[in-house]
């Protein structure tokens, strides 16, 4: 691993807690994430916040954008869609740009292409494989 890269990364310190915003219209996502990351939460590796819509997510970011480094967002939501949210984030929050991962029930090429085009850092499909997600999160923190 390049030392320079680690030095320049906002997540260079392993022990710095990572703030993650999860956006999904399904309310049960909340208990699911809490349970799945209970160890990480306990060890203060991650801190999770939840938004039930794109609008809610933007509102949260307005207040806490400097703290949030990772956003996990569903695509299909009533009202503002995940893609719209992504576009807004990429337009308004570029210093520092948060890492955005899209999570969707539709893992088709079109969805993937659109998400990546709008500036998503990664793309995951439901049902969500939490082991994979953890791996990806660990990659980012290292």
């Amino acid at each position: 691993m390049n030392m320079l890269m680690i030095a320049s990364s906002p997540l260079k310190n392993k022990y710095i807690m990572m703030k993650i915003l999860v956006v999904d219209d399904e309310a049960d996502v909340h208990p699911l994430f809490i349970q799945r990351f209970r160890k990480e939460i306990r060890s203060h590796e991650f801190e999770f916040n939840f938004a039930l819509s794109g609008e809610e997510a933007l509102k949260y970011l307005e207040d806490n954008h400097s703290e949030v480094v990772l956003i996990l967002s569903d695509i299909n939501m009533p009202g503002m869609s995940g893609i719209e949210l992504l576009s807004k984030i990429r337009q308004e929050y570029d210093a520092p740009p948060p890492v955005v991962m899209m999570i969707t029930a539709y893992g088709d090429d079109e969805n993937y292409r659109q998400a990546m085009q709008k500036g998503a850092n990664d793309f995951l499909t439901k049902p969500l494989d939490f082991n994979l997600l953890k791996e990806k999160l660990n990659q980012i923190t290292q």
Partner: protein, 719 residues
């Protein structure tokens, strides 16, 4: 007086003119010798009696006997001079006679005034003196009286000058003779000719009548021919008309004579139809007709007097005999009747010849000869007239029969045709019947095909709406599956942790973990059911409708389909977004409906609403106007009906197609995107199957509002 006579005698020419002495009153004709009259040719024809009597001309008279060569035949006018003396002891009447065209008599008697008499063929009847018809002028001389007579003769036919004889008639005896010859005033030839003319006239009229009826030219020409004969032989015309206009006689004679030949030849041509049968001979006949113009030249003294008769009779004879011989040689059937008609001509010729021969040898009494010749002459005219009239009438009759036969044939033919036509119609009927049956079978097949197609279409519409649903269904399944999978996995982990805690002896912690596990299991169950109901709904939708009405919570059904429709569309078009407003009446009664059918209606109406807002959004994007797509689904109720409203602020329905949107296969969507059956099927479901209503309220570019009412209790539906 004597002096005068002597003077006259001396002044008269070198020729001595001897006085004609009447010595007997029993002689009929008093013929003058050549020495007893003198001639003075008048070249100009303009000399007057006074001039002629004057010294200059008186000397120029000469006796015919002395210098006959002096008579110039080219001179039309001659003066004759002679003296006659009644030597009888009584008054005596003589007749001055002329057979010339114009004759003027100037009678100079002793001690009396000169008297002037006129007569001659070309002098009109009324201007004639004496006995007009016989060209006789009575002259009565007293006993011993002497008269000098100047006779001016003008003749249109110079050659007749030769035949002129100077003579007088015994008035009493000559008139008596004429009277006797004519059997009193009963003029036999006159009557015979009149009868004959009448006969010919009748024949002519009869043939004219035939011509008028059948328009056969042969009738016309035969009619003209015998009418012409009637005209020529009829004394009526010449007596009544011509005698006062005698100078027209030559013209009338020439024209009627030429006409006779022309009509006869034309008759022959049409009778034998030479122009068809013998075209070459026909040309000869036409030539003979044209030749008939030649006699007209007689009027100008170009051709001699007899030309008319020659031309006319030769033409008739040539055409007659020539045609006869020609057609005899051709053995043409018409020749027989023609020959029969002309037979009397031949017989007459022979009889005439025999009579002439007989007369010569005085075998037969002259009167008998006369009678026989008269009979043969008249019969030779009468017979053909009669015969041809009969033949032509026969022809006419035959033609008439033929025409009738033709008419009958035509009628029969028409009847046959009609029968044939009827048969044809009958046959066509049968064929038509077969065709109709075939067509009916085809139509039945078509209907059957159509029905099966309709079924297929309905099925495909179901499938199409299912297609619209799949994406929504996928989402709706994936989401619960996500929870089911993950909660079950995490519960597994929690059980491990719980075991660890129990081993450690931390019961409190283990209990807390167990509570989480229970919650998780509840969530798993909840999401499992959620997936299950989605799958069931899908199956229900695609399955053929049972048409079984069952108590249904319409609010729940509406919500379910709203989600399906929305997510379906979202799955297809990521950029799509719309505000969903639901206004469900919580007091909505449970209605008896066919849920999958009404669900289909919801799906159709909602899909249309989403499509409309999406469409408007695309348009607004172009124009830049801010637009918030909104779809509202509401339910309400009164005591009888459930009312469902689907409202959108989309592009609306244009006024002109509002009427059509419920029609099958009507769609505004691009080809392949809609079957055009959605609304039509919705109409059937709501109106036909549930006894409800569908109302559309829309403004183009503004909004669309579908209002569905469904009776809460099923009505008896008249199908």
């Amino acid at each position: 007086m004597l002096l005068l006579l002597i003077q006259c005698g001396t002044t008269w020419s070198q020729d001595t003119l001897s006085t004609y002495l009447i010595t007997s009153d029993t002689t009929i004709e008093y013929k003058f010798s050549k020495a007893q009259y003198q001639i003075l040719p008048d070249k100009t024809g303009e000399l007057s009696i006074d001039e002629v009597k004057s010294d200059i001309y008186a000397k120029q008279f000469f006796t015919k006997g002395k210098s006959p060569t002096n008579i110039d035949t080219n001179v039309n006018t001659n003066w004759y001079r002679y003296t006659v003396k009644n030597t009888l002891a009584k008054e005596f009447s003589v007749m001055l006679h002329t057979n010339q065209d114009y004759s003027d008599f100037y009678v100079i008697r002793d001690g009396q005034k000169q008297t002037h008499y006129k007569n001659g063929w070309l002098i009109p009847w009324k201007d004639k003196d004496g006995l007009e018809g016989d060209n006789l002028i009575p002259l009565t001389l007293a006993a011993g009286e002497q008269a000098v007579i100047y006779n001016r003769i003008e003749n249109r036919r110079p050659d007749t000058q030769y035949s002129f004889e100077v003579k007088l008639f015994n008035a009493e005896r000559y008139v008596f003779k004429l009277f006797k010859e004519r059997q009193g005033y009963f003029d036999f030839p006159f009557i015979i000719l009149s009868i004959f003319a009448g006969f010919c006239l009748l024949g002519g009229l009869f043939n004219s009548f035939l011509f008028i009826i059948d328009r056969q030219k042969v009738h016309l020409y035969f009619s003209l021919f015998i009418l012409d004969i009637a005209f020529i032989i009829s004394p009526l015309y010449s007596v009544v008309v011509l005698r006062n206009y005698p100078f027209t006689t030559p013209v009338v004679v020439i024209i009627s004579g030429a006409g006779l030949a022309i009509f006869f030849i034309q008759f022959t041509r049409y009778y034998f139809q030479t122009f068809i049968n013998t075209p070459k001979w026909d040309k000869v006949l036409i030539g003979l007709i044209l030749i008939q113009c030649v006699p007209l030249l007689m009027l100008f003294n170009i051709v001699p007097e007899g030309t008319l008769n020659w031309v006319m009779f030769s033409a008739i004879l040539i055409s007659c005999l020539g045609t006869l011989i020609l057609f005899l040689s051709l053995r043409h059937k018409t020749v027989k009747s023609f020959a029969i008609a002309l037979l009397p001509f031949g017989v007459t010729l022979i009889i005439t010849f025999l009579l002439v021969f007989a007369a010569k040898f005085k075998v037969v009494i002259p009167e008998i000869i006369e009678v026989i010749s008269a009979i043969s002459f008249y019969s030779s005219i009468a017979w053909p007239v009669l015969y041809f009239t009969w033949v032509l009438f026969k022809q006419y009759d035959w033609q008439k029969r033929e025409i009738i036969q033709h008419a009958l044939d035509a009628e029969r033919l028409q009847k046959e045709k009609e029968i044939e036509r009827n048969a044809l119609i009958e046959q066509q009927k049968v064929e038509l019947e077969i065709t109709v049956q075939e067509r009916t079978a085809e139509l039945r097949q078509s209907i059957a095909d159509l029905q099966s197609t309709q079924k297929q279409l309905i099925q495909s519409e179901k499938m199409a709406s299912l297609g619209e649903l799949t994406a929504g269904i996928a989402h709706e399944i994936q989401n619960p599956m996500n929870f089911v999978n993950n909660f079950s996995e995490v519960s597994n982990e929690l059980i491990d942790e719980m075991t660890e805690e129990l081993e450690k002896g931390d019961v409190e912690e283990a209990k807390a973990i167990a509570s989480s596990i229970r919650q998780n299991l509840q969530k798993i169950a909840h999401h499992g059911k959620r997936a299950d109901s989605i799958v069931k709904g899908m199956l229900q939708h695609s399955r053929a409708s049972s048409h079984q009405k069952e108590p249904t919570d319409v609010n729940k059904l509406a919500d379910e389909y709203l989600r399906l429709a929305y997510h379906g569309l979202r799955a297809k078009d990521k950029s799509f977004n719309a505000e969903l407003i639901t206004d469900f009446d919580p007091n909505l009664p449970i209605a008896s409906i066919v849920p999958q059918d009404i669900g289909r209606v919801f799906l159709n109406l909602l899909t249309n609403a989403f499509y409309a807002v999406q469409d408007r959004k695309k348009k607004e994007k172009v124009s830049g106007t801010p637009f918030k797509p909104t779809v509202k689904l509401s339910t309400s109720t009164d005591q009888e009906f459930i009312t469902i409203k689907v409202e959108d602020n989309g592009s609306g329905i244009p006024e002109q197609i509002k009427e059509k949107v419920m029609q099958p296969f009507f769609t505004t969507k691009p080809t392949g995107e809609g079957t055009g059956l959605g609304l039509s099927m919705s109409y059937d479901i709501v109106v036909e199957a549930h006894g409800g209503t569908i109302k559309i309220n829309s403004e183009e570019g503004e909004f669309t509002e579908f209002t569905i009412t469904i009776p809460i209790e099923p009505k008896t539906i008249i199908s």
